[in-house]
Amino acid sequence: MKGKGKGKGKGIKGIEFFFVAYVIIVIFTALAGFRFVSVYFGSENKTQDSQTYDKYYVIISDNNQSSFWKSVYEGAYNHGLDNNVYVEDLAATMSDNYSKEELMKIAIASNVDGIMISADDSEEMTELINEAMSRNIPVVTLYNDALNSERISYVGVSNYNIGGEYGRQALSLATTEANNNPDKDVIDVVVLVNQTPTSGQMMVYSTIQEAFDNDALADKLQLSIEKIDNSNTFTAEETIRDIFINREAPDIIICLSELDTVCVYQAVIDYNKVGMVHILGYYESDSILQGIDRNIIDSTIKVDTTQMGEYCIDALFEYDKVGFTSQYFAVDVEVINKDNIDEYMEVTDNEA
């Protein structure tokens, strides 16, 4: 600023520039502060504006942890979303463990728009289903039916088909076994059922029996049932191990649930019965597929679980619309064994 004239002009401009820059900095920092806060508010608010749905269905399964039932739920859930229906796995929302009957009561009291339940033929269940129906809550039985109830529909596999399939598989194994050990008098075949077998399980059992009766090896084949205590969470596994401890290991074990299959699979390994005990499993979870791949499980029944879930929604939707629906939806069934394991493994791998 020593120079006069030019220098003076520059000085004033410099001060003005400095001043403007300063004000800009202050305003910018203040705005940044506000922005920061508003971002925090924004993230809070976003969680609040949620989508609403026309209908609210609940699904009550045997075991919401198993991949079988998870897959069923997923099928139903996704299909529900397509129709603006929210499907909830009721057991998953509760912090306590409740029985299916209790969950049923909760669903009824919650006044939901529809219930999908893996039912049974017990009186209590039938009564609860009837009560729900009387309170205008349509009930679809899923996988396990309650024959005497007023449920609008049953979605499940054809137990007759399954039984026939198991019978065929078992006979094929028995024939191989008989050929390998001609001296063997008895080929022991065990079917694992619930403590109180459902009608479906009994249907499977009798269809297998029927298949055996018509076979040449009928004299040698000895079909029996083992009741698996599924009254609480861990008993099934213990009961299955008891089979290997308390009696001579059967030649063929036919499992009618995913959990049973996995437990038997593990028990066979643990008790060193690989190759001596043939396993006919149920459902195609990763570990079961692995078992087939390793030649420990002979075959398994694949149920199209997604389709099962979708059919439930369709049934409830149709009932809601026109007041009635088909009494029975049959879900597709396939057999997975060593021959076609690769395609399922690939699918699973790809999915993974």
Binding site: I15, Y22, A32, S50, T52
Partner: protein, 497 residues
């Protein structure tokens, strides 16, 4: 605006700068506080959902307890409690969401709401049955109610748990936010304060800069250096006023110094002149004294001669001796001072008289004098030596009657004193030498009173402070010489009076 800012007083300027800085800090502070406050509010409400749920749970307990109590004791109080708690509970569940959404909380809320309504129905039926004393009925209904009560409790618990987990997550998030906000606040405050410091320094230096320049200049002036650049007044505040006053002061001081220098120069010249004059006078006196061995003795002797001639009745001798005495007294008394023209002319008269006595009336002295000029002053012994020169060098060496003419006239600017003789005259070369002061005479003539023409010229020049004070005119050999002295007249009238 800038014009206005420049016109402000220093106090005003400083106040504006400081107020501006403070307001900025205030604004930034407020905005940050607002942000932090909003976060804190959010933080406070984080667990509000859980608190609300707990209240619902407590209200539910109240309903269940009051119902149980009524069933047990059937008192009016218990019934009243039941009604109150039922109202309370109903009010609370009214606020719950009843729409199905993809948020699990809202769905659980919806379920709790419907279950609670169902539960209240069952409870009121139980109470009705109790009133109707239908034991079997109210027992079953009580069981149903209790079952529902447990389910609802369990549902509330699971919702509470889920919300607690979620709220804890947002609590952690908010805590993080608070911490970040705190850091940002500190950073922003530091930035703003540093910027403020810069702004204040910048503007205050703008205010004090002219003051510094002024003080620097003042310091220079105090050291005696007046040759400084004038400080430019950029503003119209107090500093501007002081700067302008300072500039004016410096200009005035410079002028005064210039004037004093000039007058001192003049005075010095004057003093120099006086000194020179004195020197020349002293020189003349010395020469005079060398010539006149003892003037007092001569003077007294002449006086004694005059008295003797009077006693003897020799009047002419008396007059002659008397005039001689006057001539020497004059020389003795007035030699060192300035006298009037009249006195000088008297002296010439006496001198001519003496010469005429000596040379028996050979010299004819004519006077043509403007009486008004007689009071003009002139250094003593200036005209007499000129006349002496006329006699010694002009007339004495010629044949025939010598005439010396003294005329004093007055022009517009000068008094002209002309002394003219009809003697032998002189060459122009000689005249130039005399005027230039380079003429050297070979000693004093015997009839001289000791003062040379160059001395006279020098004294006259010093006296009037001009070289043109004297002029010598001669038309050539045998045509006489005229010496003219010009005494300037100043504005006040006749100078040298």
């Amino acid at each position: 605006m800038r014009r206005n800012y420049r016109d402000l007083s220093i106090q005003g300027k400083m106040a504006i700068v400081y107020i501006f800085a403070s307001v900025l800090v205030l604004i930034v502070n407020l905005s940050l506080l607002f942000g932090i406050n909003a976060l804190l509010l959010k933080l406070e409400t984080t667990y509000q959902d859980n608190l609300d749920l707990n209240e619902i749970n407590m209200a539910l307990d109240d309903v269940q307890n009051s119902m149980t109590e009524y069933l047990n004791v059937k008192t009016t109080d218990a019934l009243e409690n039941y009604y109150i708690s039922e109202d309370n509970f109903r009010e609370k569940i009214e606020t719950l969401n009843s729409v199905v959404t993809n948020s699990s909380y809202s769905r659980i809320e919806r379920n709790i709401k419907f279950m609670s309504e169902d539960y209240l129905d069952v409870v009121s039926q139980t109470i009705e049955a109790k009133r109707g004393r239908n034991v079997e009925k109210y027992r079953i209904r009580y069981e149903n109610a209790t079952e529902l009560y447990n389910y609802i409790g369990s549902y509330i618990d699971s919702l509470n748990n889920q919300q607690f987990v979620n709220n804890s997550e947002s609590f952690v998030e908010l805590s993080k936010g608070l911490r970040i906000t705190e850091n940002i606040s500190i950073t922003v405050m530091v930035v703003v304060i540093i910027s403020n410091i810069f702004v204040i320094l910048r503007y205050s230096s703008q205010i004090t800069k002219p003051l510094k320049e002024l003080s620097k200049s003042a310091d220079e002036v105090a050291k005696g250096n007046f040759d400084i650049d004038l400080v430019e007044a950029e503003s119209h505040d107090e500093v501007g006023v002081v700067t302008n006053a300072f500039n004016q002061m410096v200009i005035n001081i410079r002028e005064y110094i210039q004037r004093i220098k000039e007058s001192m120069e003049n005075e010095r010249k004057h003093k120099e002149n006086a000194l020179k004059m004195e020197t020349h006078l002293k020189d003349a006196q010395l020469k005079y004294l060398q010539a006149q061995i003892n003037p007092h003795f001569l003077f007294n002797s002449l006086n004694a001669g005059a008295q003797l001639s009077m006693l003897e009745g020799a009047d002419k001798t008396y007059d002659y001796i008397q005039n001689m005495a006057v001539f020497y007294r004059y020389n003795l008394n007035k030699a060192d001072s300035v006298i009037t023209l009249k006195e000088e002319i008297d002296l010439i008269d006496i001198y001519i008289y003496i010469l005429n006595v000596r040379f028996s009336g050979e010299i004819n002295f004519e006077k043509n004098i403007d009486e008004k000029c007689l009071n003009a002053t002139i250094p003593s012994m200036t005209l007499q030596p000129i006349v002496e020169n006329c006699v010694n060098h002009g007339i004495r060496e010629m044949a025939g009657e010598g005439v010396i003419t003294l005329s004093i006239t007055r022009t517009l600017d000068n008094i002209c004193i002309s002394i003219k003789d009809n003697g032998k005259g002189m060459s122009q070369e000689t005249i130039d030498k005399i005027i230039n002061g380079t003429y050297r005479n070979d000693g004093l003539s015997m009839d001289s009173n000791g003062i040379g023409i160059d001395n006279v010229i020098n004294r006259l020049r010093l006296f009037v402070d001009s070289d043109d004070v004297i002029n010598i005119i001669s038309e050539g050999e045998g045509k006489g010489t005229e010496v003219v002295i010009y005494l300037p007249i100043n504005d006040e009238g006749i100078d040298y009076v």
